[in-house]
């Protein structure tokens, strides 16, 4: 149909010319329609591509190709099948009317024509056709829109899949990096006569910037450090891992800790200040100003209890004397890497027997509660004093727990690192001292069956190193193992990652074993021995513990939570 308002549509009619048809042509023209008359069906079909009629009249009696066959051909072709076809019949020709509809006509008119009726029917069918066209356009537009949306959605899904893949890769990489970092932390602290170590490390995210370690430098000296790389995440972790690798003593002249003189016989230990100076040269701050680190590094003389250290921008060590006096041992130096020509001062702390020294990262003191109030030194001091009589590891764990409780979350806001040691020198028969306590082993492990065998091995090694008879050693190993099983099965109610803290100390001629957990309090009643043929878990184990140890008792936990089991074995 054309868009000319004076030309409402072009109508093609295949019919023999007659007075009726002539009248119709005049009337159509008056109503704004143009009628194009052809004599037969073939002519009608061939003229359609040129005329592009909006509606077709076919006379059932037209010569040549019948009206019905013409209509069938029109409806078979995509270009013409949508054009409305109206048959022209006679009033009595019902058969043709029905057949007309069956071959695709939309209507019929009868001769002689009732002009108004014909015009009304044409108008109606053109309106219907127009609406159909409009509807088809709308459908086509909708289909286009749907297809575009589908393409956009597929593209979005592909992007999301790629993001997810990248995220998974990144998570795996971060987890792998965290494992690398964890592997560089001391798995089992080395044992040294007269000094017991304890540590903890809680990264604030999967990757932290803190690191710590303890290592022997020679027969009399132990090196230890805690460092804190500025910032968190991958870049901080990478530097932290690099530093962990650099800060491992090696038997070669390039070792950071050896002041080489060219001859192995005359090698001396590099002083803490020298170590800081070397690190300052090796790790200048990057140009973006974000990569520097704080460090506390010290050398402990395990015979004399002298701790010589440097503290580069790091929180000062806290010394807790045996009579509970807490001292912050501050020396002011800038962090490593900030200035090319930094000088680093040293301090010396002379430990008393039984004295404890705590090195820690700023995440401990600066843990904030909801009101942004920091944990602070006073609270730290209270924890240290309250836990002084318990195992050192329990004291360290107590600090972490209190700091996390203070923040109201179990996820550290900043990396939390604590490395502590207690100096309890062995009794020297040539120069008698008042000291009567010696740390044999301090070890923390998870409440898992797989952790028990390594714990037994460590206990055996530590006890054998002191020369006790293997029967005594095996009895103590058994008692500790049974106690740990009870902690796992009864206190924790099954295997878990919660800690078990083991401490073995020699008090005069008594070996004192203390096992602590973080589990809900267990009634001491469960420690009652049962008949030997009672093989319920726990019963036989308690029986063993009481058989091989001189005393087995529950004590108040040094951290105020969990359970504390104390077992004593006379080795006099």
């Amino acid at each position: 149909m054309t868009n000319n308002p004076m030309h409402l549509g072009l109508i093609l009619m295949a019919a023999s010319d007659s007075p009726d048809v002539q009248i119709l042509m005049h009337s159509f023209s008056a109503y704004g329609f143009e009628l194009h008359l052809v004599s037969d069906g073939e002519t009608a079909l061939s003229s359609i591509p040129t005329l592009k009629p909006d509606l077709i009249f076919l006379d059932v009696t037209q010569p040549g190709l019948s009206g019905f066959d013409t209509c069938l051909q029109l409806k078979e072709q995509d270009e013409t099948k949508h054009i409305p076809v109206i048959f022209v019949t006679t009033p009595t020709d019902t058969v043709s009317t029905v057949k007309g509809f069956s071959v695709g006509a939309v209507d019929y008119v009868t001769k002689p024509f009732q002009i108004e009726e014909v015009i009304a029917r044409i108008t109606t069918h053109l309106k219907i056709r127009n609406l159909q066209v409009l509807l088809e356009e709308i459908i086509a537009n909708l289909q286009t829109e749907v297809a575009e949306r589908q393409r956009a959605e597929e593209a979005l899904q592909e992007t999301m899949r790629m993001v997810q893949e990248a995220n998974d890769r990144m998570k795996n990489d971060l987890a792998a990096a965290a494992r690398v970092q964890q592997a560089l932390l001391p798995d089992i602290l080395p044992t040294f006569p007269g000094v017991g170590f304890a540590w903890t490390y809680r990264p604030c995210s999967e990757l932290g910037g803190d690191s710590l370690n303890v290592f022997p430098l020679n027969d009399d000296h132990v090196g230890l450090y805690v460092l804190d790389v500025s910032g968190h995440g991958v870049s901080a972790s990478l530097l932290s891992v690099t530093l962990s690798r650099v800060l491992i003593p090696r038997r070669d002249p390039s070792c950071l800790f050896i002041q080489s003189t060219g001859s192995p016989d005359t090698e001396t230990l590099a002083s803490p200040a020298e170590i800081a100076t070397r690190l300052n040269r090796m790790f200048p701050m990057s140009e973006d100003g974000r990569q520097y680190f704080t460090l506390i590094y010290g050398i402990l003389n395990i015979r004399t209890g002298e701790f010589r250290y440097t503290c580069a921008g790091h929180p000062p060590p806290l010394y807790l004397s045996p009579n509970q006096e807490l001292r912050s041992c501050e020396i002011g130096n800038v962090p490593i890497g900030l200035f090319e020509d930094s000088q680093f001062d040293e301090g010396i702390i002379q430990l008393e027997p039984g004295g404890r020294l705590f090195l820690y990262s700023d995440g401990v003191l600066e843990a904030k509660n909801e009101s942004k109030e920091i944990f602070g030194e006073d609270r730290l001091q209270k924890i240290l004093e309250a836990t002084q009589r318990g195992p050192l590891q329990a004291s360290v764990d107590g600090i972490v727990k209190s700091a996390l409780d203070w923040t109201g979350t179990q996820q550290a806001q900043d990396d939390l690192s604590i490395l502590a040691f207690e100096w309890t020198p062995a009794v020297n028969t040539e120069t008698p001292t008042k000291l009567d306590t010696q740390v044999i082993l301090s070890h923390r492990f998870s409440a898992r069956a797989t952790d028990l065998s390594p714990a037994r091995t460590m206990t055996r090694t530590a006890l054998n190193n002191h020369g006790w008879h293997s029967d005594i050693v095996e009895d103590i190993v058994l008692a500790i193992d049974e106690a740990c099983q009870n902690i796992i099965r009864h206190a924790y109610g099954g295997e878990c990652d919660e800690p078990i803290t083991l401490s073995i100390e020699l008090h005069d001629h008594n070996l004192v074993v203390v096992l602590e957990d973080h589990a809900p309090t267990v009634s001491p009643d469960c420690m009652n021995p049962r008949a030997f043929d009672d093989i319920r878990p726990g019963g036989l184990g308690c029986h063993f513990m009481r058989q091989v140890m001189n005393t087995v008792s529950f004590e108040p936990s040094s951290t105020g939570q969990g359970n504390c089991l104390r077992m004593v074995k006379s080795v006099g």
Binding site: T450, S453, L478, Q485, F532, I535, P537, L540, G541
Partner: protein
């Protein structure tokens, strides 16, 4: 912990190696009970067991009791001192049939 099960002169012999503790005793329990269920003459060779705890002792008692119930026999061979110590703490050294070697154990189980 590792194990071997084999037959010799009509006896089923379970040879255990390593530590029997909280971690390994569930596996050891299955091995022993499966063998008890298919054998009336069971010898448990513990020459290479270096450590046993209460959970390990509990499975030995369970295997021993189950065998007794079905009229079978269980004996222990070649215990090292650490295992003997734990058995004696459980006062089982007087209850279990313990032999120095396989030959004497086989003779004792007609």
């Amino acid at each position: 912990m590792e194990h071997q099960v084999f037959e010799q002169q009509g006896h089923h012999i379970v040879s255990l190696t390593g530590e029997i503790d909280l971690e390994t005793s569930p596996a050891a329990r299955k091995i022993l009970l499966d063998t008890v269920d298919t054998s009336t003459k069971l010898l448990i060779d513990m020459a290479s067991v270096t450590y046993i705890d209460s959970s390990g002792i509990a499975i030995l008692v369970e295997a021993f009791q189950r065998a007794k119930k079905k009229g079978g026999q269980v004996a222990f061979i070649s215990l090292n001192p650490a295992v003997v110590r734990v058995l004696s703490l459980a006062r089982l050294d007087k209850v279990f049939s313990i032999h120095a070697d396989m030959e004497s154990a086989i003779h004792a189980q007609p």
